[in-house]
Symmetry: D2
């Protein structure tokens, strides 16, 4: 772990120190999140996610919804019911009223996928100013998969035996060598030393970087829906799942609604709904009579079959 | 004041209750902000701004900057120096790491200007669901100004005597009548009662609405630079100034840097810099020899003159 | 109609002039959109939508998708299939590669709903600089509905007879009087004349404003999904439907996919999917055995029933 | 050059074909941009920028400003004057009414800086779906600089002789070897072949990627102000400068205003303005009497000195 801190203290000491300090506040506070604060939650071989700060709780969602809908929300009896109602009807602004700030250490190729979610605040470790650490993601054997044969994007069978070993050897050797040369180019020992902003270009995409990432709950749910999904690349999914565990503790009602209506739900097309109604009426529907393409039909069956 | 609350308690009781509760937290906490929390700060005749929540402090800006710039920031000795450096060099991401949530009550025509700042989260009281209150902004006599004669946008001399009185009478009478008719159309007494979403269209732009507004510090500074400026309409400026007072307590170093580099500073054009250099070299520069249009020259002189 | 133009020409002349000019271009061009260009499409009593410019077509979506997915997209045989695939799998960036610019004239209360969609560029007529026109939205009799009794948001039965007449009389009289007083306050005839930025506060929310609105296709679809929906307020839905007619001509494949997968589709929850599977397996499922609340169950039945 | 196209045609043929097609349009059209369309403008050793589409021109900025400011803009006599006025007073929405779509081929480490500008649409070549090409950025000798000794970020003196040669040899050898191993891991010849999404992690940050990037003119100016600046890393500046050349042809009035008020201008702080006024009044001001830190004073002198 390589978090940047004040001099003369290790990351562990720094974290212990931050966790030892407590303050009185009138703000919405979630005891379970206080337990998470500052502690790195390990992800992949050298990565982590840790909570640096949070704003709001389930109550803050309800509170802002009641500002917008005023007396109009009387019908919904309780907070959980209101939160479920808001999620079901795609109300986004009440969920935007909660915010979380995470410190994440992650491989560069994961960072490149992650940053495509633009509605967030990001402050990344700068390799123009600073020197990156010698830490690389090397997949565990159970993640070393072949290209999928049915899907242009994604993984198929596991590599085995010699092939797996060859891959791991190449990844390790290339990473190590690239880093040795990075250091050699930077070195000012008997030479001028290449600028950091140039030397970094030699480093591979499995090197670890880190950033602060701050996002509101609505946009975080959007991120999680895409990245905690089975179709997401395993390496980013590992981060999304670690974040799910945190969000579950932070806003339990909202997370349960998210699981029911988004993560565990499915979008059906107009054609899909039509087939469904015919099937419920007793008709036998096949791909040929469905009006769907083969790909759509396969996905449709995947949704309605157990 | 008309904040929406749990039944059976007045807004004042509700606020007192929320302020009476305190929690232990490990999060960055600003004692001066704890004093602000939940208390409405009066703006205009019926409006207010109150802090509902905040995330981060001056230290959080520094902390995230040190993640990005790592050892590269060693040269800047202290937190205030680093914050000034970041502001001077237009680094925006460290300031995005702080967030504030405000509850604002404001006239609709102010809300319409405000919402043009898109990088924020907003949850507004809904006049589709709920009934608006009978509260209207009526300018104080010292704000009742004529159209500027030099500027198509903005105010000139104060209205006086009978004209001022006539304006106030018209504003009050029209607002009152519009609201009476709003209620008459909504009423279900002996009639069906018009839908709220339709009846509201009769209400004038000086009626008060309210919203939760959540924004990061970088975007808040952008808002304040434009809206606390002398060219902003007085009514939104009143809100911007109330928010400045809060931000000053929240992140004193960042606010001081903002005042020095943004609010109190000025952008000079290439032509302006050229004139300045010639003037410092002893040349007498006039509009004719400046290369600027009359409007630009007038503004340039306004910047460099005391 | 009150579009701002060069002096000495009426809006109709101006539009005729702009439509008479043609240029040669190498850009993606859609003949059906060329027919739409500049022509106002009437909405409500005084409003309109007109296309000012557009970028891209169905081909531009495919083209950018093929940049991202390269050889990976070979499996999908044709453009329409690829567009349907992208929509079904929530790929948003290819749809962002198309852009449209509209000139819209709309009542202020509609503008206030519309602006909640933040991911767009907006340039609104400024009532600080300029004087608004005497044009107000007065609902047609078939839109004059009572508050819904089952839904806190929305309309129920139509108002009839005297009640309807009373509402129309009030709306017309108040709007006319407010505008008379707006003019009286602005007048510089024998008085200074109130600043425009103040006088406008007397105007009701059914006055018309206008703006340029520019948005990419992905965010436009999001807007249309919410605003062309049966639950949207009729007045904004009227605009959404007018825009649907335009988009259908602009990107016919993308619009057809949008209709199938979004507008005509439905999101089912995890509980909903579970009930569905049980029903398809022959089980009789009721609200009591569904695990859903009454509200959810009613909506679920609404989706699967014809 | 490796643009993705329809089978059976080279990139050059494809471009020639697209350039040979012309259409009639009523949209705002800029002849100089028609010349640019589709043609790659070379940047760095293997990169390029090419215009895929554009919306609007200088006239479109004026047109939308006149919608917002209506009769209020009469005072400004002509289009250029109005555009300069809008730029000077930080009006952003009229500039947002122009949009450009570029196809860019660029090294990954440049892409990582670029993507920090979030207000744009991006569609990047996916290394999950597709195989990257064997093309790497190798700096020209005149760009091979040492770390700056005065600035933690940035370059100092040029490397020379053997050191320079050593760096180039390392960069070339590591890139080549990394790519050989990428291919070896992907190969399905006698083995399963590693998934693309995993194999790519071995590739260094100087490999080229490509994307479609679509942005409005206001946000493009913001990007150019930061990235065409002397403090930007040379490699991204090279792209920014190529884009400047295009924008100059696209919206010549707006670009000239941008050069005068942004690129060539400077922001002075409140302290800086105070010093300036004292200097213009004849006082000799030094760092000690300026109230500025050493760093600020050095930058201030840099602005006002020739």
């Amino acid at each position: 772990m390589n978090i940047q801190y004040a001099p003369h203290s290790s990351p562990e000491e720094e974290i212990a120190e931050m966790r030892a300090r407590t303050f009185e506040t009138r703000r919405a506070t979630v005891p379970a999140m206080e337990e998470h604060l500052y502690l790195p939650k390990k992800v992949l071989d050298h990565g982590f996610v840790r909570v640096i700060d949070y704003m709001g709780d389930d109550g803050a969602i309800v509170q802002s919804a009641r500002v917008s809908y005023g007396k109009g929300t009387k019908a919904v009896q309780n907070d959980e019911g209101l939160i479920r109602y808001l999620m079901r009807h795609w109300h986004s602004t009440p969920f935007e009223m909660c915010e979380i700030k995470l410190h994440v250490k992650l491989p560069v190729f994961v960072a490149r996928q992650w940053i495509r979610h633009r509605t967030a605040n990001v402050n990344e470790y700068s390799a123009r100013y600073s020197i990156l650490d010698r830490e690389f993601y090397i997949p565990a054997p159970e993640q070393l998969a072949a290209q999928s044969t049915v899907n242009n994007q994604g993984r198929g069978e596991l590599l085995e035996g010699e092939e797996a070993q060859r891959v791991l050897d190449l990844l390790r050797a290339d990473a190590g060598r690239a880093y040795d040369h990075y250091e050699a180019m930077l070195s000012q020992d008997g030479q001028k030393g290449l600028a950091r902003e140039l030397a970094r270009m030699n480093l591979p995409a499995n090197i670890y970087t880190q950033w602060y990432w701050k996002v509101d709950l609505h946009n975080l749910f959007h991120f999680l829906r895409l990245r905690a999904d089975a179709h997401a690349q395993y390496e980013i999914r590992a981060y999304a799942e670690a974040i799910c565990d945190i969000v579950k503790d932070w806003v339990p009602f909202a997370f349960a609604a998210f699981e029911d209506y988004r993560l565990g739900g499915a979008q059906l097309s107009a054609k899909g709904l039509d087939c469904l109604r015919r099937m419920l009426a007793g008709e036998e529907v096949t791909q040929e009579t469905s009006g769907m393409s083969k790909g759509e039909w396969r996905e449709f069956v995947g949704v309605i079959d157990t």
